[in-house]
Symmetry: C2
Subunit: 215 residues, 2 copies
Amino acid sequence: MDLGSGLVEKVDGRLARGDQTRRAVLRRAVDIASVDGLEGLSIGRLATELGISKSGLFAHFGSKEELQLATSRAARRIYADNVVVPAYEVEPGLGRVWALSEHWLDYSRSRVFPGGCFFQKVSHEFSARPGAVHDYLASVHSEWMEIVRTAIAEAVERGELAGDPAQLAFDLNAYYEAANLASILHDDVSGYDRARESVRTRLAAAVVPGSPVPW
Amino acid sequence: MDLGSGLVEKVDGRLARGDQTRRAVLRRAVDIASVDGLEGLSIGRLATELGISKSGLFAHFGSKEELQLATSRAARRIYADNVVVPAYEVEPGLGRVWALSEHWLDYSRSRVFPGGCFFQKVSHEFSARPGAVHDYLASVHSEWMEIVRTAIAEAVERGELAGDPAQLAFDLNAYYEAANLASILHDDVSGYDRARESVRTRLAAAVVPGSPVPW
DNA sequence: AAACTATACGAACGGTCGTATTATTAGTTC
DNA sequence: GAACTAATAATACGACCGTTCGTATAGTTT
């Protein structure tokens, strides 16, 4: 997963003033959007909460859609930092698949975004609408599913797992999403234990006998 | 599942004029909300699309929140008619569990609501917000999970399935939801086959040996 | 026929939305 | 310190939001 190295910095590493603002805006924007969605994220509200002017904020993005896209890109970055990067520190194979699951559930449970998984929220919001935001969110979804599928495929290649990687990736991701929704909707974290158990059972059923398991 | 027999009719079975309007409004409202959410469902837009006045429409509900609640109740009715009722025509046991899965996936695939499952959409929209709409959607979610869990528990009692009904219900529901999102986000129905396969495999692993299977 | 109720209408309210234009400030460079 | 540029603010616009009000029309009841 390319994290995008486009940090706009001055030569000495300090951020230009405009980028500080932009960064602060996006930090707040992803939090708001995870609760109220990308449409509920209004420019006026965002400016008020940050104590800056609406027009000044608007000048950074040029349009509402660009703000939504920038917010989604910022969220992807945070998502990558909290889920993908830590899992990639584990050796490829079953261990990494397990790490992906654990980090995903932790990422949702610990409310890295206050409204739960940012992409769950806004992907549903834009799922049936045309436009650049929909397309970007669909691409992030595909990218994520490919990451899970690849991790599983590596475990299969190593002889630790058996079965169709795409099918297994579908199942694991389904557990994550279901736990995320249930926990937010009912303000109850028990869904994460359910999901963890589902992941463990599903993986156990696909483990090649004799392989060591990470749980 | 109580479908609510509160049909407001005149003695001869004809609907009063106001209820005809109300019914037409809600029929359109659930479709709009399944695409653009319950916040994207604006009173002005709804009135324009139906060719009636904004104020006349508004008088039927009294507030935006009441319209959202009425829309959600109408959607629940449609959901029950398309998923729960047909499945309940099958004898309790593994067959009914399978029927629930098949009808759910059909309900989503056939776009009973143009934006996919109404409750998937709006549950995410209101998952992190307080209010009566959130509470109602949470109760519908619980009600649905209980329906699935009970159907599974009946199959366990009959000796057709083994395992924790709540855990199994969590898994099956997760497959439904994941298929729904993937199919809408990517405009691709292949997720339904994935989900069907996941359901079949998951149930097969829980079937008590010797029991006949419905697939 | 008269009285009453249910239903729908048009106009307007204050507020917020996204957006555009213009002015003012702050930072950097010579 | 002056000149220039980048960043932020001020102000305003038209559109739409949910909501309220007063009124007209249709249906029902007496």
